[in-house]
């Protein structure tokens, strides 16, 4: 019946299940490769075989797999999903496929927090430093992300109304300010701190700890579960705030929730791994081409593809200069920046951004 295909607005675009299945398969492959690859030369098939036949697995293999590679994999999955979904939500909110958490200053705020902690941690009371331990930098980064978001919100909202244009411009100003303050701190830094700064800024999945995973998961998990509920509202927002309101959506509530969700995802991601760019722009863009712009599928698919791509990027980061490793932010930038430029060129063909 010809009507049936028209009858289901949700299911009528290019069929989605195959895409979803493909993404899940990609994710599983990426995870297996990540677990099976590393400087220690522990082979995943071999260990799995031993486990299935009941043979004893050596302590070394167990430690490498469960204590080193698995936490790193889990962190990659979490951060990749968080960055991609944060980007998709931000783009829906701004009605612009080039928007990214970096744009509203969340990334810059997180960066300032981290750099401040690296440079100034010597001045902290010993009790506080001991309590947070190696967590000082991530905690500060997270604090910076939240502060940036709250500040932006104060600037951009008037009487409960949030102006997206003001939010965007305020984000640019805030990013510039955070960048300047970061620059001042860089001048104050000594040589060791400079090295730390540089590596934090480039991002790395190394140093995944249970504590990091727990705190990050507490932010990222609920956000990933709740954000798909915003899908219908974000779809309507593509037609503009006024039209979305006419179609019955509570726009202010939608915007508040979206911004809080993005802050949680992007703040936690930056806090855990430092600066990893382009995932939030490239993943949603590729998915819009493959499966259409409907946020009901896009937000879930973005989590899957983001997780898979970040784990693969980490794999590349570990392999190209093995046994050393590249900061993953470099890998995502080398792969992502050309795609970003390609998006720009393509959009110019359609009449500009």
């Amino acid at each position: 019946m010809a009507m049936t295909s028209l009858a289901l607005p949700d299911a009528m675009r290019r069929p989605c299940p195959p895409l979803r299945l493909g993404l899940i398969a990609l994710l599983v492959i990426a995870a297996a490769l990540s677990l099976g690859t590393g400087a220690a030369g522990v082979s995943l098939p071999q260990v799995l075989g031993q486990w299935l036949t009941g043979e004893e697995i050596s302590t070394r293999d167990r430690v490498v797999l469960l204590d080193i590679r698995l936490p790193r994999l889990v962190m990659g999955l979490m951060v990749g999903a968080a960055l991609a979904v944060a980007g998709a939500v931000m783009q829906g909110l701004f009605r612009n496929p080039l928007a990214d958490p970096g744009i509203i200053g969340v990334g810059a705020g997180a960066g300032l927090g981290a750099v401040a902690m690296i440079v100034l941690s010597g001045f902290l009371p010993a009790a506080i430093a001991a309590f947070f331990g190696t967590w000082l930098v991530p905690v500060a980064a997270f604090g910076g992300a939240w502060t940036a978001t709250l500040l932006l919100y104060r600037v951009a909202s008037r009487g409960g109304q949030v102006s997206i244009a003001t939010l965007l411009l305020a984000g640019i100003a805030l990013a510039a300010l955070a960048g300047a303050l970061t620059g001042i701190l860089t001048y104050l830094a000594d040589d060791t701190q400079l090295r730390d700064l540089t590596f934090w800024g480039m991002g790395s999945l190394a140093g995944a700890s249970d504590m990091k995973l727990l705190v990050g998961g507490l932010l990222i998990g609920p956000a990933l579960i709740l954000i798909p509920r915003l899908a219908r509202g974000l779809n309507a927002l593509a037609l503009g705030e006024a039209t979305a309101a006419h179609m019955g959506h509570d726009i202010e509530r939608l915007k508040h929730r979206a911004v809080i969700g993005v802050a949680a995802l992007a703040g936690a991601a930056v806090a855990m791994v430092g600066g990893i760019g382009f995932v939030g722009i490239v993943v949603p863009h590729l998915l819009r081409i493959a499966g259409g712009p409907d946020h009901k599928t896009l937000l879930v698919d973005a989590a899957l593809l983001g997780a898979a791509l970040l784990v693969l990027a980490d794999l590349i980061a570990r392999l190209v200069v093995a046994p050393a490793e590249l900061p993953i932010g470099i890998v995502t930038a080398i792969l992502g920046a050309p795609i970003f430029l390609w998006i720009l060129i393509r959009r110019q063909g359609l009449g500009g951004v």
């Binding site: 028209l6 927002l237 959506h249 259409g292």
Partner: protein, 259 residues
């Protein structure tokens, strides 16, 4: 019933609408006319709940400012003057959004019916951004129609508030869109349409509201409002009104060729 009394709407520091009162009945097409900047769009936006206002606006007994967005969405659909879609949603997806906003979301066949009504069935699966301006305007009309598909629901008449629905269309499609609005009103729904074309308005309107500088200059049947002196004074140019041989009125602008 759409009842507006003593309405003030501010834009910036000045009141664009100044103590305006108006009643529009369901089952009729109310056309709002007036020169640029006379407050036509502001009136429709206030009535649709998009602007803060002083005074009273009630639609079917609901005070607009105190009615949640979802309840208003079931009661009325609004066609904005300009519409743009940020991502490459298909025409059918956009119309589907309108359907989901109303109370008939359980009847997905309405999407194709609404597209057939505006003559866009063939383009249902095209990205809306790839359509011409006029086609996009019709697609958005289909979205708005899908939101209030049945002109009368169990709760009473439903409303279409449309701001320049024929502005970007050729003459044939202008008449088609007018027919859609006409049918909606004839079936018991309420239609409030902002228009610019006086001749089309004369053919569409049951009630005419002529606005100037935030106030109502004339209000009544087309015969009562479409008078040469009234129109000429309101628009600030020489306009001649005549009666067509068959039916209705026409307006002839008096163009004074610059010397």
């Amino acid at each position: 019933m759409l009842e507006i009394s003593d309405l003030y709407v501010a834009r910036g520091r000045s009141d664009v609408l100044q103590g305006l009162s108006l009643t529009a009945k369901p089952g009729a097409v109310t056309v709002i006319l007036g020169p640029n900047g006379s407050g036509k769009s502001t009136l429709v936006q206030a009535a649709s709940g998009a602007l803060p206002y002083r005074g009273r606006i009630t639609l079917q007994g609901h005070e607009i400012a105190q009615t949640p967005a979802w309840r208003l969405a079931a009661l009325r659909a609004v066609l904005e003057q300009s519409n743009s879609v940020a991502f490459p949603f298909t025409v059918a997806e956009v119309v589907g959004m309108g359907l989901h906003a109303g109370i008939e979301a359980g009847h997905p066949e309405i999407v194709s019916a609404a597209l057939a009504e505006v003559g866009l069935s063939d383009l249902a699966h095209r990205p809306i951004q790839s359509l011409s301006g006029g086609q996009q305007a019709r697609a958005h009309l289909a979205r708005v129609r899908a939101q209030v598909w049945q002109p009368v629901s169990h709760a009473g008449p439903r409303w279409l508030l449309v701001d320049e629905p024929v502005a970007s269309l050729d003459i044939a499609h202008q008449l088609e869109v007018m027919a859609i609005l006409r049918r909606f009103a004839d079936a018991g729904g309420g239609v409030v349409a902002v228009m610019h074309d006086l001749n089309l308005s004369a053919q569409l309107a049951d009630e005419m509201v002529l606005m100037r500088e935030g106030r109502i200059e004339a209000h009544g049947s087309p015969e009562a409002v479409m008078r040469g002196p009234v129109l000429s004074r309101t628009y600030g140019c020489e306009l001649q009104v005549g009666a067509a041989a068959s039916d209705g009125l026409w307006v002839l602008p008096q163009f004074a060729r610059p010397a």
